[in-house]
């Protein structure tokens, strides 16, 4: 995406980083659909074909079918089979949060989720947040507030932050830090991440579905009626994504 003499500005580059690989979200279904196991996931010691499993799920609103070895995690299925590489592999042991995705609307760690166990579920990855060129407000806020440096943890941070908006998280910065504690940032962008999240909660420019957020927002200036109107407009367009 970037070469040594790329004329992409940092902001343009980061826009793409925060948004994941936007182009990937538009893959035609034929390319998203199951293909025979390739060397990237399949193990040379892989059990015979009869132990392979068929998994059907909705990934970023696209019906997806996979035939997989039971050992494949959701993270590896996303990255290696579906080429949805926006979701990052950090520790691969549930200790860093880089692989955070939403399953049935809740944030979970894809590295500790077996792909076989998401049969029939609805999965949202970083590639599924934006609508065309319109970033999710949390994605835009991360850019506006410089909520990252190297960007590697950012997709996980964004997925956690989006989920946080519908969780019972208190209004204070300290509450946000606790609610984001499952996402480690080696660059230490935490202050700007908190600012980014609070700006979205404060202005109410976010697509939300839960009433719990209104109490959480009440302590913030800027959470006036205008914000509610904006939210309603957003929700009507994105209601199915909440």
């Amino acid at each position: 995406m970037v070469s040594g003499q790329s004329d992409l500005s940092r902001r343009e580059f980061m826009t793409r980083t925060v948004g994941g690989s936007l182009a990937m979200a538009a893959l035609p279904e034929s390319q998203n659909a199951a293909t025979p196991a390739t060397g990237t996931v399949a193990d040379p010691d892989s059990p015979a074909a009869e132990s392979q499993l068929r998994v059907r799920c909705a990934i970023n609103d696209e019906h997806t079918e996979l035939t997989i070895d039971p050992r494949v995690t959701l993270l590896d299925a996303l990255r290696e089979r579906l080429r949805l590489t926006g979701t990052k592999k950090g520790c691969d042991h549930g200790q860093c949060g880089a692989c955070t995705v939403h399953v049935d609307g809740r944030r979970v760690l894809s590295c500790l989720t077996l792909a076989a166990a998401v049969n029939g579920k609805r999965i949202t990855t970083i590639e599924g947040l934006a609508r065309g060129d319109e970033l999710h407000p949390i994605q835009q806020a991360f850019i506006d507030h410089d909520g990252f440096q190297c960007g590697y943890c950012t997709p996980g941070q964004v997925m956690s932050a989006v989920a946080l908006l519908d969780e019972p998280c208190g209004p204070a910065d300290a509450d946000v830090r606790e609610c984001m504690s499952g996402n480690i940032c080696r660059c230490g962008a935490y202050p700007n991440i908190v600012n980014a999240i609070q700006s979205v909660r404060g202005t109410g420019s976010v697509w939300r579905s839960s009433p719990s957020g209104s109490a959480a927002r009440s302590g913030h200036p800027g959470s006036a009626d205008i914000g509610s109107v904006q939210r309603s407009a957003k929700r009507s367009r994105h209601a199915e994504r909440s």
């Binding site: 077996l114 166990a117 830090r177």
Partner: protein, 328 residues
């Protein structure tokens, strides 16, 4: 990860039968422990039985005033449930002090009860570990044992129990419902976890293939005055070095009754009956809490790097007692 066969169970009996049918088969709930340990080759099940479709997700009021929590209730849902928050506040606090929001969305009540130790040597197949490989020895005894247990240890194992949730459950005398070959039965949590002794590989009273289906929280009105205090190496998202779950029954300027359990220091969630006895009838205050802390840590057996846990656990308990007393 070793190869395994994946099966999704349709009901309790089928799940239990499937696990009984193959030695070493495992139930898969949230997967936060099992999948992690499978990646490390510490767990090598030949069959994994997915129980996520089982309808064990209710939190129900019991006729006696207690609450029944289904085994598949996610930790975040239990923590935020109104009945848990209002009537068992230390349980809600302990759940929210555990892991991260993502992990709490995955982890289940039954799975948390079955959480394994974080002992480095248990998690490293290159090292001897009596719990993982009986008879191979214990590398923690004279290794890096800063995080290890000081209560309930044996010459074979000093691995600390890792759960936060189980600490208030132990203080509450929660009752665990299981279902297996001999049908449904209940196990009080005080009898559920076994001390390591000479057989650290046997951690619970469960029989092969027995499935945890629910946990009953007894009615205990004074638990509205309860606190969970957790001390760890960083502010959040870390296992306890020491923790205390405390409930106080206060009246007429006295402590009528107390419930105390400790985490991070025991080979199982550690009920402190002796500390509870020192508090019964005492006047609330620093002197009583100090005596209770001394009683709770009586017999602690530290190794090279974890002697600090004795004082840390005492102060953690005293802080929890003081906070419980100060509640409105």
């Amino acid at each position: 990860m070793f190869p395994f066969t994946f099966q999704a169970a349709a009901d309790e009996d089928a799940a239990s039968r499937a696990v009984r049918a193959t030695p070493g088969a495992r139930f898969l709930a949230g997967g936060t422990t099992l999948v992690d340990l499978m990646k490390l080759n510490v767990e090598r099940p030949s069959v994994v039985v997915d129980i996520n479709a089982l309808p064990l997700t209710a939190i129900e009021e019991l006729p006696d005033g207690g609450v029944r929590v289904g085994a598949m209730v996610r930790n975040s849902d239990m923590a935020n449930h109104p009945a848990i928050r209002s009537r068992y506040p230390f349980l809600s606090q302990a759940l929210l002090a555990g892991a991260s929001p993502q992990l709490r969305n995955m982890a289940t009540t039954g799975g948390n009860l079955m959480q394994r130790t974080r002992c480095y040597y248990f998690r490293d197949t290159a090292m001897p570990c009596n719990k993982r490989e009986p008879g191979s020895g214990c590398a923690a005894l004279d290794g890096h044992n800063r995080i290890h247990a000081i209560l309930g240890t044996s010459a074979q194992c000093i691995a600390a129990h890792a759960s936060d949730m189980c600490v208030p459950l132990t203080a509450l005398d929660a009752v665990i419902h299981v279902n297996g070959e001999r049908g449904p039965r209940t196990i009080p949590i005080g009898e559920f976890y076994l001390l390591p002794g000479d057989r650290p590989e046997v951690e619970t009273a469960l029989e092969p293939g027995e499935l945890i289906t629910a946990v009953d929280l007894p009615p205990l009105p004074f638990v509205t005055r309860s606190v969970y205090v957790k001390v760890r190496d960083r502010a959040s998202y870390a296992f306890a070095l020491a923790s205390a779950a405390v409930a106080l029954d206060l009246g007429d300027g006295r402590i009528r009754n107390a419930r105390i359990a400790l985490g991070g220091v025991g080979t199982r969630p550690w009920r402190a009956h002796a500390a509870e006895r020192t508090l019964a009838g005492a006047r609330p205050g620093a002197a009583a809490y100090q005596a209770a802390a001394a009683a709770a840590l009586e017999g602690a057996a530290p190794r090279t790097h974890n002697a600090f846990k004795i004082e840390l656990a005492k102060r953690t308990l005293m802080r929890a007692l003081a906070r419980a007393e100060a509640l409105a």
